[in-house]
């Protein structure tokens, strides 16, 4: 029996185990939406967002929270171009997202037809791969390939562009069970000789540090990491993307490293003699001045992407593989069963140094302040959710305070735009996470600037009764930019005052959500309690200290031990 391209698309998605689609309709995809309503309404939960950028962020949040690929469906032209920021965000953070875009009919392509955009051309540099499907016969195979590419190797977004006639034409449907892409074979297995060399270095280390990144979470290697670090007694620091890959409440956890990393993590990097980088890519926000980064250390680098290795920093032992495979092989090679007295002895001095650094300089803020300190809000959120919430963030100070003060013990509970730093990410990402986990507390920690970049999604959370909580750390500024202006631009606050803003409580109410406000520290606990008790979506407007900064701070391009402290 022949079926339409639209049915093929939806049946293929079912075959891939997709049950949720985020999207927005339009002329070029109207056939798909029609088929969705007529024949597939029981098969998919469809979330109608209010802006296509939010559809991609929501699919991305869904993917980060679950580990499964997120799926979007949008129309041609502006529908497609609105997904670009979402794609670039997912691409930088290696998140598996599939975006299906409508396209004008094949015979009109290139004619500047109504709502035509060369979306494959536009998104080539911000997708892992993309396709224009030119014949309905190729649709099923292309979808199969798209899922394979998005979810394997170093994952990433894939866009598939669907001309209207390709969607309308009918052909026989046969979904391939497996597929081979001869030109795409990611290397997931660690090379045994490299593992041996790494193990030799590990045995000799006196001041080791594990530097873990988002790749540990992507590959599901957190248990291996835990076993490795806890049995060897190796301290762990993590990137922003890696938070949750190792329990933050564990004594071996040093906190995040980098520009706003903890004093102790950055000092440890400066002094380490063996750095084990796993699923991390030596981003400039992590390394500071790269020549000084871990300058005394031999470096072992486990990463699935060969281009990440020797890109920013020269390493002794590169191991191209999946983090889970690499760590398991290292565990086998080192025959780690339990703690050895000999090893404990070798690391004793290092651990006392790490403790000394912690005591010398902890993360801190004024806990007696009557004016709400933003860090206080996060601490309270952590306490009152018992560390069990899924936290998303916007970008700026809010993001850094969330990373510093909420302690993440589990992978896939901290969703943040690390690579691209996309303001407007957090709220739609929270929608994706909440759709995946309806029973969990999902909180977007936001700034008053960022939240306005996708505020229209309040309608979405109200429509689908998604109880997302938005905690706005309202400082009336584009705070992070203001902080740079304060520190490095002589306090010339060029265009960072955003006190002209909506009343967020009334705004929430206007959308049919609940709005709450706290203006002094003593009110913080009460409003959080109220918000957590509320079964629907809530905005909490925390009027916080306008002038608070994020510290420690390493000025861009400085060595990471040169931290501005407060």
């Amino acid at each position: 029996m022949k079926i339409s391209g639209a049915s093929i698309l939806l049946r293929s998605l079912k075959e891939e185990g997709v049950d949720t689609i985020f999207g927005y309709p339009g002329g070029a995809v109207i056939d798909i939406f029609d088929t969705l309503a007529r024949d597939f309404s029981q098969d998919f939960k469809f979330i109608l967002v209010r802006h296509e950028q939010a559809a991609v962020h929501a699919a991305d949040g869904y993917a980060r929270a679950t580990g499964k690929p997120g799926v979007c469906l949008v129309t041609s032209g502006p529908g497609g171009t609105n997904t670009v920021t979402g794609l670039a965000t997912a691409y930088m953070d290696s998140i598996p997202v599939l975006v299906f875009t409508g396209q004008v009919p094949t015979q009109l392509i290139g004619n500047d037809a109504f709502q035509e955009a060369d979306i494959v051309g536009i998104t080539r540099p911000c997708t892992k791969h993309n396709y224009l499907v030119s014949r309905t016969e190729e649709l099923a195979k292309t979808i199969k390939e798209g899922f394979l590419i998005a979810t394997t190797g170093r994952p990433g977004p894939v866009l598939i562009d669907l001309p209207k006639d390709v969607v309308q034409n009918k052909v026989k449907f046969d979904y391939p069970k497996t597929i081979e892409i001869p030109t795409y074979r990611p290397n997931v297995k660690a090379h045994p000789p490299s593992v041996k060399r790494a193990a030799e270095l590990i045995r000799l280390a006196e001041r080791p540090v594990i530097y873990a990144g988002g790749g540990v979470i992507t590959s599901g290697a957190h248990e291996e990491l835990f076993k490795f670090a806890s049995t060897l007694n190796f301290p762990v620091t993590s990137t922003l993307m890696g938070l949750g890959c190792f329990p933050a409440t564990h004594p071996l956890f040093l906190g995040m490293l980098g520009m706003h990393g903890t004093f102790r993590a950055n000092m440890a990097i400066d002094r380490t003699d063996l750095l084990l980088a796993i699923g991390a890519r030596f981003d400039d926000r992590v390394t500071g001045r790269v020549e000084e980064f871990a300058k005394d250390a031999k470096i072992i680098h486990i990463d699935i992407d060969p281009t990440s290795i020797q890109k920013n920093i020269v390493v002794e032992v590169p191991i191209v593989c999946d983090a889970k495979d690499g760590l398991s092989k290292l565990i086998d090679e080192l025959k780690i069963e339990g703690r050895s007295a000999e090893a404990d002895d070798r690391l004793k001095e290092w651990h006392s140094q790490l403790t000394a650094w912690r005591n010398q300089q902890r993360l801190r803020f004024d806990r007696t302040s009557e004016i709400i300190k933003p860090q206080f809000v996060i601490e309270k959120l952590y306490e009152m959710t018992k560390g069990q919430a899924i936290i998303t963030t916007e970008v700026g100070q809010n993001q850094m305070w969330a990373a510093q003060y909420y302690l993440f013990d589990h992978p896939r509970t901290f969703l943040t735009s690390g690579g691209l730093g996309t303001m407007g990410y957090g709220f739609p990402a929270a929608i994706g996470a909440q759709v995946a986990f309806p029973g969990k507390t999902v909180i977007d920690i936001a700034g008053d600037g960022s939240i306005q970049m996708n505020i229209q999604e309040l309608a979405t959370v109200v429509q689908y009764k998604l109880p997302v909580k938005i905690a706005i750390l309202n400082n009336g500024y584009l705070g992070m930019v203001r902080q740079w202006q304060e520190r490095f631009y002589d306090k010339v606050y060029s265009h960072t005052d955003i006190t002209v803003a909506p009343d967020f409580v009334k705004l929430a109410e206007a959308y049919g959500a609940v709005g709450l406000r706290a203006t002094k520290s003593s009110e913080v606990e009460k409003v959080i309690e109220k918000a957590l008790e509320t079964s629907g979506p809530v905005i909490i407007d925390f009027i916080v200290d306008r002038d608070e900064g994020v510290y420690p701070m390493v000025p861009a391009g400085a060595p990471i031990k040169e931290m501005i402290l407060v």
Partner: protein, 170 residues
């Protein structure tokens, strides 16, 4: 140190592949000195020869980034071994009656050919390695070069090594 590098890449013969390669170079600000593409004996695959320059670290990235592109089947650094490279160049030079003899002498020395003649100019076709081409152009410049059109380099490994089509890996 900056070195000239010649890369041979076997790519799938699909729309957009050239754009992927060119976009990767420009997006990461890698240099392309020349790039040539043509079909191989296997109609599903094309052969690209890319000439670039850069230090070793940059070059390592170029090779890895090329391999990372989904439609690329095989990437080879020809400069790591022995290879033959050739370029075809068409040069239009001034050749008034006084200078014509000299032009013909240069053509002969370089085993080039004259492919078009006009009253006051000649068009010369020459193939050769980069060194030969540069040397010839330098000599011809004394006559006055009106226009140069170059194909860019194509290259092949010497001896028994082949840049097999349809292979993956390196």
């Amino acid at each position: 140190m900056e070195n000239r590098k010649v890369i041979s890449a076997i790519v799938e013969n699909k729309p957009g592949v050239l754009a992927r390669v060119a976009g990767m170079f420009s997006g990461r600000s890698f240099n392309i000195d020349s790039l040539s593409v043509a079909p191989t004996m296997n109609p599903d695959l094309s052969q690209m020869t890319i000439v670039t320059h850069g230090n070793e670290a940059v070059f390592e990235q170029i090779i890895k980034q090329l391999r990372k592109l989904i439609n690329i089947s095989k990437v080879q650094d020809l400069t790591r071994g022995d290879y033959v490279d050739r370029e075809l160049v068409l040069v239009k030079v001034k050749a008034t009656s006084v200078k014509r003899g000299e032009a013909l002498r240069i053509v002969e020395i370089f085993r080039a050919r004259i492919v078009d003649v006009a009253t006051d100019n000649l068009t010369i076709e020459v193939t050769g390695s980069q060194g030969k081409i540069e040397a010839m152009l330098e000599l011809l410049s004394s006559l006055g070069i009106l226009e140069v059109v170059r194909t860019g380099t194509v290259a092949i490994p010497r001896g028994r090594k082949v840049s097999r089509t349809g292979d993956t890996g390196d």
